[in-house]
């Protein structure tokens, strides 16, 4: 029977997750791919989710995708705006590269796997198809656990096991929900998981290790949206701030705050594509997020009077010191209350800055998603969820985020006890679901859970639907 664990049909194999055979954990998001061995504390392989296309070459390399000299280099991403795989060809190659280049030794001489990637793309895939039995597949010795979002499609789930089994030759496979992994890693079988990544923000109720489907809320108010808010701010100040990425600067001289940049610029013979430039600009925006942007921590909201002294919070903030940011061209300036205005929309749609996208709605804000998510579950369960809130994802590292979240949720549910758990370590916050998968995949007992190759061969790809809930 498909729903039976594999030990009912074959003797347990204690070596999965043991010393001899190590499972590999793959946690792929919109901004990065995290891959590593089960049982380790952090993913050994941390890769950008972006890849490059130049001419008819496809490039999977964290260095080369930043190389402006590659002719007409276009930067692409296999993930959709909702953080699930959209382009399976690219995702397969990107993930395989993330695994083979950093984790496992592969035979020399196969250029597809020696990290050079020069012949990636279609050629490499064709080799597999022509001689499926002869070629040694890269993961024949490693069970593979892949994490996925709560809203991953059935088609994508089946595709994942197919790639793992057919292309990579894994002996065993598992799909784990990233929110459940993050919740478990925080020590909670029941939790409200709030994840703000790059493409998507989500709020999900988990009860006894299972996602409550009705409670799944998601919206685009995550890292990429914050970047678009920063761009909106840069375009609205006078003079406008142009983000000139590092690769365009050959030298710079220090200038006073607010003064025009004094830099010399690189000249390129080849065309620099918009996608390449946008991807390089994004790196600068991430630095800006890390060092300048701040969420107004509460109490109250930025554009409302302070509950105690009645003065607009915005005015109070103006009195606190700003933060200086130096752009790659050397220009620099102080960012005052604007550093908080750009993320206020996460909580209060009325104050989101205008962008080229349609305006955001109230339902997309974090507090409204929390309200909707919690309201969708049984009343009796709500206190346990609100007392066990797990915060994860890179965008939750915004300074002040958890304080504000605490204020927002406390005012939504004034009589409930609210407790937020957010890993203090940056790595744990960003790798929460990878770490959860890593521990699970390393357990001796977990060998009974894996979907074995035999099961896959017997029941086909749809076995994931039955086995991985």
């Amino acid at each position: 029977m498909a729903s039976q664990p594999m030990n009912s049909s074959m003797p347990p194999n204690d070596t999965y997750g043991g010393d001899e055979i190590q499972a590999i954990i793959l946690d792929a998001g919109y901004s990065s791919v995290r891959a590593g061995f089960a049982g380790e504390d952090t993913p050994k392989s941390f890769f950008s989710s972006s890849y490059g296309v130049t001419g008819n070459r496809t490039i999977f390399s964290d260095e080369d995708i930043h190389n402006p000299l590659l002719p007409e280099l276009e930067i692409r991403n296999p993930m959709s705006k909702e953080g699930i795989v959209e382009d399976w060809d690219a995702a397969t190659q990107l993930w395989e590269h993330a695994i083979t280049s950093r984790l496992i030794r592969t035979k020399q001489g196969d250029p597809r796997k020696n990290g050079l990637n020069d012949v990636g793309g279609k050629d490499g895939v064709d080799v597999d198809m022509d001689a499926p039995d002869e070629e040694e597949k890269p993961l024949e010795e490693h069970p593979l656990l892949i994490t996925e979002t709560a809203w991953n499609t059935s088609k994508n789930r089946e595709k994942a096991i197919e790639i793992a089994m057919e292309n990579w030759g894994v002996p065993a496979f598992w799909l784990a929900r990233n929110s459940v992994m993050a919740s478990f890693a925080a020590g909670k079988a029941t939790a409200l998981v709030i994840d703000l990544g790059a493409s998507t923000a989500s709020v999900i109720c988990i009860h006894d290790g299972l996602i409550l489907k009705k409670s799944v809320q998601k919206s685009p108010l995550a890292g990429n949206w914050v970047s678009s808010q920063i761009r909106s701010l840069f375009g609205s100040v006078d003079p406008k701030v142009e983000v000139t990425p590092h690769f365009m600067i050959s030298s710079k001289t220090p200038v006073d705050a607010g003064a025009p940049a004094q830099a010399t610029y690189q000249k390129f013979e080849n065309k620099i594509t918009d996608s390449f430039r946008a991807s390089e600009e994004e790196r600068v925006l991430t630095e800006f997020k890390e060092s300048v942007v701040q969420v107004y921590p509460g109490p109250g909201r930025l554009h409302y009077p302070h509950p105690v002294n009645g003065i607009l919070n915005l005015e109070n903030v103006k009195m606190s010191p700003g933060r200086v940011f130096e752009f790659p061209d050397g220009s620099n300036q102080m960012w005052g209350v604007d550093r908080m205005r750009i993320v206020e929309g996460l909580f209060d749609e009325k104050y989101a800055l205008p962008t080229s996208e349609p305006p955001i709605t109230k339902a997309q804000t974090i507090p409204e998603m929390v309200r909707a998510s919690v309201s969708a579950v049984d009343v009796d369960l709500r206190p346990a969820l609100l007392a066990n809130i797990v915060v994860t994802g890179g965008t939750t590292l915004l300074q002040g985020f958890t304080d504000r979240l605490n204020w927002e949720i406390s005012s939504l549910f004034p009589s409930a006890r609210i407790k937020i758990t957010a890993a203090g370590l940056t790595s744990e916050r960003r790798f929460g679901s990878w770490v959860g998968g890593s521990i699970l995949g390393s357990l001796g007992t977990f060998h009974q859970m894996w979907i074995s190759r035999k099961e896959y061969e017997e029941f086909g790809a749809s076995v994931v639907e039955k086995r991985c809930k």
């Binding site: 664990p5 744990e428 859970m449």
Partner: protein, 155 residues
């Protein structure tokens, strides 16, 4: 079977039934064996003082399977919790399941306990209330009384 693959030792259920049906115990503390393969009874007791029970949870430890490092440890517990109703309407008894996972426990034991909990809960029939505790306040008598009685207990 649990989501981690860990199994439940048969005496977990028999001990629980002794508490539930025969009122033989006031509480049971369950733990995962050091190899994380099985959930077993660590202690079954008829000690009636909540503080004694609480102290046992606070002192619980777990060992990291890989490094051998000992940290504060998670536990599961069942407590036969009794309280008087505020309106003088008599007393109530609630068999309460507690998933104790202190925030300062190691991440490995936290993960294993969280992913093994579902199976133990399913094996124990007749639990009236359950809650997760992560810090010392969560298992203060008063806060547990409020949770278990939904605020209806006399204090």
């Amino acid at each position: 079977m649990s989501q981690s693959g860990a199994s439940i030792a048969p005496d977990c259920v028999t001990t629980f039934n002794d508490l539930k049906l025969n009122k033989k115990y006031k509480f049971i503390i369950f733990k995962l064996t050091d190899d994380y393969k099985e959930i077993v009874v660590e202690e079954a007791s008829n000690e009636g003082d909540w503080e004694v029970f609480r102290e046992k949870l606070l002192q619980a430890e777990s060992k990291n399977m890989k490094t051998g490092k000992v940290t504060k440890g998670p536990r599961y517990a069942v407590y036969d919790f009794n309280y008087d109703l505020a309106a003088g309407e008599g007393s109530r008894s609630k068999i309460t399941f507690i998933a104790w996972s202190p925030d300062d426990a190691g991440i490995q034991p936290k993960m294993v306990y969280a992913s093994s909990k579902d199976a133990l809960k399913r094996a124990l029939n007749g639990l009236a209330v359950e809650f997760q505790g992560n810090d010392t306040d969560d298992i203060e008598y008063q806060s547990v009384l409020t949770k278990v009685s939904k605020g209806l207990a006399s204090s």
